[in-house]
């Protein structure tokens, strides 16, 4: 193979055809309220760890739906399980349980 000094750039476009429906259904079985998220951002806004490191439950749920589970796990690592997000979620999602479920199910693969 010849090296021309430049190559094809990888695509950073999301491809929803690659969404892993089966693993997501396992998550739904564990915590059905994950489907209720309206991405309002309240959880991210009050997050205690969020002031210091990049962490966001909203982005983690989004990353799973966009077929990027590793990014989701990365975003949830700093979680201190303090529960502030559960206090503010307008859709009454048990966010602590959701975070633990995501980590459990997506780390297992």
């Amino acid at each position: 193979m010849v090296d021309f000094g430049y190559g094809i750039s990888p695509s950073s476009r999301l491809d929803l055809d690659k969404f892993d429906r089966k693993t997501f259904d396992l998550l739904v079985a564990e915590e059905p309220d994950v489907k209720k998220c309206i991405a309002c951002g309240s959880c991210t806004a009050v997050c205690a760890a969020g002031k210091f490191v990049p962490t966001s439950l909203r982005s983690a749920i989004l990353a799973i739906q966009n077929g990027l589970p590793d990014k989701a796990l990365e975003l949830l690592k700093p979680c201190q399980l303090c529960g502030k997000c559960t206090l503010v979620c307008p859709r009454e999602i048990n966010t602590r349980h959701l975070i633990l479920s995501i980590i459990k199910i997506y780390s297992a693969k």
Binding site: L14, D15, L16, P32, K36, C37, I38, N66
Partner: protein
């Protein structure tokens, strides 16, 4: 002498107003340019937010119309003011001396083929919200072929300067969520996506419908406008949008795309409005006498408006608007033609 009221337009607003005015004791003439009454309501399957069947609503409204003289396949040929009334010549040759005219001409659906990038009328599996309602009523459409992945595009022809309409068409978001739920019921294994810019779930029970769509049906809502649709070799659609929540462009392959076409002012209504010299606002709908306190009166004397002729409305709002217009007409006619009030008192005492 009973006053004559001419109602132009046989959709829900016209039907409701005609029933109300007939009960109030007036001589009501209703004309409709199509071959049956009901307007767009007659072409819908189920209504949001509770899924009530449209044909049931329409037939109950039509039942109240006894006594109203209605003419289908009829349009206004000419109309001009004579002293305190309007002399109207209809296309069927009849002429009416109307003491009040109610323009309930409704709306026309935005022609989705104008948005060339969505390929309506070009690709095999792109339909509009109206086509989908027809599918649910009739049961088949050649473009809907056991879809496994379905997408809904909000704001087609609305909130779009290029399409000539800056305004929001109000009802399409609720319709999209309703239809998304209905498609999931019809095709339970399908993935359903709704691509929206802002989700307008303003009415009573609409937020519950949104929650149901997410929780019970697993509809995925993506905030990002569909920008480009192309067809693959096998006829499936490649759809490009941006997921604005993650600030990344996305692509997805779908088997069916439903375009939520918006509400534009009715062409036939504009024709009659021009005959009367009625003013329209920048959004193309008719101007009202006062946008807060006098929404059913036109600036012209004796001309009234009801329904979507003055802008996008939901069905309950249209019916309420028609009832409001009926009250306005009654008040106007009582003031302008006081000698007719004794006959009306006689009719009302008979109830």
């Amino acid at each position: 002498m009973k006053n004559n009221v001419l109602i132009i337009g046989g959709g829900p607003a016209g039907i409701e107003a005609s029933a109300q005015l007939q009960r109030l004791g007036y001589n009501v003439i209703l004309i409709e340019k199509g071959s049956s009454l009901g307007g767009h309501l007659s072409k819908w399957d189920r209504l949001f937010p509770d899924g009530v069947h449209a044909d049931g609503v329409l037939s109950s409204m039509l039942k109240n119309m006894s006594g109203v003289k209605s003419f289908t396949d009829t349009q206004v040929k000419s109309i001009n003011r004579l002293d305190k009334s309007y002399n109207v010549i209809l296309s069927n040759g009849i002429s009416v001396l109307a003491d009040a005219v109610l323009l309930a001409s409704g709306f026309t659906l935005f022609r989705a083929e104008k948005k060339e990038e969505y390929g309506y009328g070009i690709y095999d599996h792109v339909i509009t919200n109206a086509d989908l309602e027809a599918y649910f009523s009739i049961g088949s459409d050649s473009r809907i072929d056991k879809p496994k992945k379905i997408g809904f595009v909000h704001c087609v022809g609305s909130r779009d300067e290029k399409a000539g309409c800056r305004a929001c068409s109000k009802v399409c978001c609720a319709t999209a969520v309703k239809q998304a739920c209905e498609m999931k019921e019809e095709f339970p294994d399908a993935e359903v996506y709704c691509f929206y810019m802002d989700l307008r779930m303003f009415g009573r029970h609409y937020e519950d419908l949104y929650l149901k769509a997410q929780k019970e049906y697993g509809v995925r809502f993506i905030r990002g406008r569909v920008a480009e649709v192309s067809e693959n070799a096998d006829g499936s659609l490649q759809v490009k949008a941006e997921d604005t929540f993650s600030s990344k462009p996305l692509k997805v392959t779908l088997d069916l795309l439903v375009l939520m076409a918006g509400m534009r002012p009715s062409d036939a209504g504009r024709r009659v409005g021009d005959l009367l010299g009625m003013s329209v606002e920048e959004d193309g709908f008719f101007a009202v006498r006062d946008s807060v306190t006098s929404n059913q009166r036109s600036p012209l004397p004796g001309v009234f408006l009801a329904g979507t002729a003055t802008g996008p409305k939901t069905l309950p709002e249209t019916i309420a608007d028609a009832r409001g217009a009926s009250m306005e007409i009654d008040r106007y006619l009582t003031d302008v033609f006081p000698q007719a009030s004794d006959y009306k008192k006689l009719i009302r005492e008979k109830w």
